[in-house]
């Protein structure tokens, strides 16, 4: 792909590349060591950050890399969570079965709805995904025999590895960390591949890509399914971590929170999406109770501030308009 300059991962000098490698290793080591020093509650908060970081990364693949802003991505996250939870209860909780089922169902849900969204772009895409998200939320609420409806899907057993359940927050954290890292690596690899270059080409100038002979709808459909699959993976981690799924996990608020996370981090930067997710989760879980329930107010203010103050972060979302 010489026609399209890859802009998400700028070519960096070898020295910086080495530096980035050590930072990555250091972050992983710190995350892996955390349960040894943190109390269970802090550890589970950290695990939750990782779950939502993977979710944000999958969304960033759509928003930042391909320029498709989704307000309904929680639909696939939730689908994966329900599927993984249901499998753990009724079939087996043995890793990696719930994980694979979650990813598979997330991808399947994206595949069965993506044909509508893949033909659209920009704000239209935003509207359609919003509507689809609402619809999936409605299904989750209504299909009680599978999802537990408003009571949620509860009594999910802990993930088992080689027959041994992950009995405490620390072991669960390591499982979440491992899968999240693999998921991140997957998205990162895709974003750097020629396929990722084509996606960025679509983001920057779709008509030109079409003129160059790319079937842009097909590319958009493929990345939509892939992002749905990774979101489903994150959903299966959510179940592994909180051991229940509720209709709120499929909802509009989660979708918009994650879109905010991606925007804060600077769309297109996968690391940024992780940091954004961490910020959002910590604000919601740690500051939430002290805000007298007015978390959405803070969220809204952050939204507005980010749009004005971090134009670089937000600018990559759609590239140039039209």
């Amino acid at each position: 792909m010489t026609a399209v300059e890859p802009s998400v991962v700028p070519a960096t000098p070898a020295a910086r590349r080495g530096y980035g490698r050590w930072v990555a290793i250091a972050v992983l080591v710190v995350l892996a060591a955390a349960p040894l020093f943190l109390a269970p509650f802090a550890t589970s908060t950290l695990s939750r950050v990782l779950v939502f970081a993977l979710f944000a990364v999958s969304l960033d693949l759509l928003v930042g890399v391909t320029g498709l802003p989704s307000l309904g991505h929680a639909a696939y996250f939730g689908s994966g969570a329900y599927a993984a939870g249901w499998t753990s209860i009724h079939v087996t909780a043995e890793a990696p079965v719930p994980l694979l089922v979650g990813a598979g169902v997330g991808a399947l849900a994206a595949a069965s709805t993506g044909w509508i969204t893949a033909r659209s772009a920009g704000v239209f895409f935003l509207m359609l995904t919003l509507a689809i998200g609402e619809l999936v939320g409605q299904v989750a609420n209504t299909w009680e025999s599978v999802t537990g409806g408003a009571n949620g899907l509860t009594g999910v057993p802990a993930v088992r590895i080689a027959g041994q359940p992950l009995a405490n927050a620390g072991f669960t954290h390591w499982y979440v960390l491992l899968v999240a890292a693999l998921g991140f690596a997957l998205v990162w690899t895709v974003a750097r591949s020629p396929f990722g270059d084509a996606l960025r080409g679509i983001r920057d100038n779709e008509p030109r890509m079409r003129a160059l002979g790319y079937s842009t709808s097909l590319y958009k459909y493929a990345v939509f399914v892939l992002a749905g699959g990774v979101a489903g993976m994150a959903g299966s981690l959510l179940v592994a971590q909180q051991r229940l799924v509720s209709t709120a996990d499929v909802g509009f608020l989660i979708s918009s929170l994650m879109l905010l996370a991606v925007v804060i981090g600077g769309a297109g930067s996968l690391w940024g999406a992780c940091l954004g997710a961490a910020l959002v989760v910590v604000v919601r879980d740690a500051l939430g109770p002290t805000l007298d329930g007015h978390g959405p107010l803070v969220l809204g203010i952050v939204f507005v501030a980010v749009v004005y103050l971090l134009p670089r972060g937000a600018a990559g979302l759609l590239g140039r308009t039209r």
Binding site: V9, T12, R17, G20, R21, V23, A24, I25, L28, V29, A32, A33, P35, L36, F37, L38, A39, P40, F41, A42, T43, S44, T45, Q138, N141, T142, E144, G148, G149, A150, N151, G152, T154, G155, A167, N168, A169, G170, F171, H173, W174, L178, A181, L182, A185, W188, Q242, R243, L244, S246, T247, A248, L270, W271, D285, G288, P289, D292, G293, H294
Partner: protein, 406 residues
């Protein structure tokens, strides 16, 4: 932002190394085995209670009533359960399990409470079941009405001082079958878990009493604001009466539109008590007049305990207590009774002690007892009436004691 270090081999190596570490450092981390052993109780000391009720979101007013019920009991009893000084840690449950479950996790794991009290949302209560079982802590549910919390699927650690969705509905089912509405009641409830539980348990009791269902509708939950299509269906069904379950905003719009579309005159409206309970009743206004519901409490109950309770509550907070206040007041009440005999503060000892408290004879709702960890209590048939400009749920009839059905 590259990190070529993320090869699978390195990752696996890293995790291999990490996984061996917990052997070296066992305690003071998230990786130790089991929970910390609770301090032995014995005579005197402090009992730490996590009060997890909504301080925000659509259930905030319920949470406020619950907190008041809890505080009122403690204030009138010197802030003590028997020999124990009560230390309350109040945490916001929020609206959904996304906030509620971490809140319970927090009080158990971080604040290290002995007992958790509260929970409005059934999904949250169901979602913390495993957490309680694993940490062997007692939870006294003071609202959430899901059947699965107690009864057949119960864990020994969850007890309830409120009600079950089916219990309230079953009482009405039996009543309507017995009082001339045996041919044709229309059932309507939002399309979600609690609505289904109410409808199914009403149906079971009603048909067991010889009733026949005229029809059924399930409006979408949380997004329905116009009930006209369903009201037309009710009229066309030829039903003699309607039984419904709605709460919050849906209760307001349903009751109002039921009157506006002229059904109130021809097809009397019956419901589960939450239809006309608490803050929704003044909003429903005149449209609610004559609506009959079943519930285990109304501030209009005529018994000495309730008279004293309503008086003290009104003096302290300037408004009448609701069912939610009583449910939480009773949580303090039963914990106090249990601690008279409990040998320790862990979940097993407290659960055993709660099982032995027998009849609770000083509750504002009337005498009740635990049956399968949830109250067997009298159900009251109530009718909305205008008492000097204020709408109240006046007692029509005591329908007698009712257990959790099934």
């Amino acid at each position: 932002m590259e990190h070529p270090a993320l090869t699978r081999r390195r990752l696996l190596a890293l995790f291999g190394a990490a996984a061996t570490l917990p052997v070296l450092s066992a305690c003071g981390s998230s990786v130790g085995g089991g929970g910390s052993a609770p301090a032995a109780g014995g005579g005197g000391g402090t009992i730490k209670v996590g009060l997890v009720v909504p301080q925000s979101g659509v259930y905030a007013s319920l949470g406020e009533d619950m907190t008041r019920g809890w505080e009122l009991w403690l204030e009138s009893n010197g802030g003590r359960f028997g020999d124990y000084t009560v230390e309350t840690v109040a945490v916001d449950e929020g609206e959904t399990p996304q906030t509620g479950v971490p809140a319970v996790q927090r009080v158990i794991q971080q604040d290290d409470v002995d007992v958790v009290v509260g929970l409005v949302n059934s999904a949250t209560a169901l979602g913390v079941k495993d957490l309680l079982t694993e940490s062997r802590k007692l939870l006294v549910v003071t609202n959430a009405g899901a059947e699965g919390l107690t009864g057949a699927a119960a864990t020994p650690y969850i007890w309830r001082t409120s009600f079950t969705n089916g219990q309230v509905a079953a009482a009405m089912g039996t009543h309507l079958a017995e009082t001339g509405f045996a041919e044709g009641v229309f059932l309507i409830a939002p399309d979600y878990a609690a609505g289904t539980e109410v409808i199914e348990n009403f149906r079971a009791a009603y048909t067991a009493g010889g009733g026949t269902i005229a029809g059924e509708a399930k409006p979408p939950f949380g997004t329905t604001s116009d009930y006209q299509p369903f009201l037309s269906t009710i009229q066309a069904s030829g039903a003699r009466a309607t039984f419904c379950f709605f709460s919050g905003a849906e209760a307001i719009t349903f009751v109002q539109q039921y009157a506006q579309f002229g059904l109130a005159q021809s097809i009397p409206l019956y419901g589960s008590g939450f239809l006309t309970e608490g803050s929704v009743l003044p909003q429903q206004g005149q449209a609610a007049l004559g609506v009959q519901t079943t519930l285990h409490y109304t501030d209009q109950l005529d018994n000495p305990a309730n008279t004293a309770f309503v008086e003290a509550y009104t003096a302290a907070y300037g408004e009448s207590p609701s069912t939610f206040s009583v449910q939480t007041w009773d949580a303090a009440n039963v914990l106090n009774r249990a601690l008279a005999t409990a040998t320790a503060l862990d979940g097993d000892s407290l659960a055993a002690a709660l099982g032995g408290i027998g009849a609770v004879d000083d509750s504002p709702r009337g005498t009740w007892e635990f049956d399968g960890q949830t109250p067997r209590q009298n159900m009251y048939l109530r009718s909305v009436q205008d008492a000097n400009g204020t709408l109240v749920n006046a007692v029509v009839e005591d329908l007698g004691p009712q257990s959790q059905p099934g």
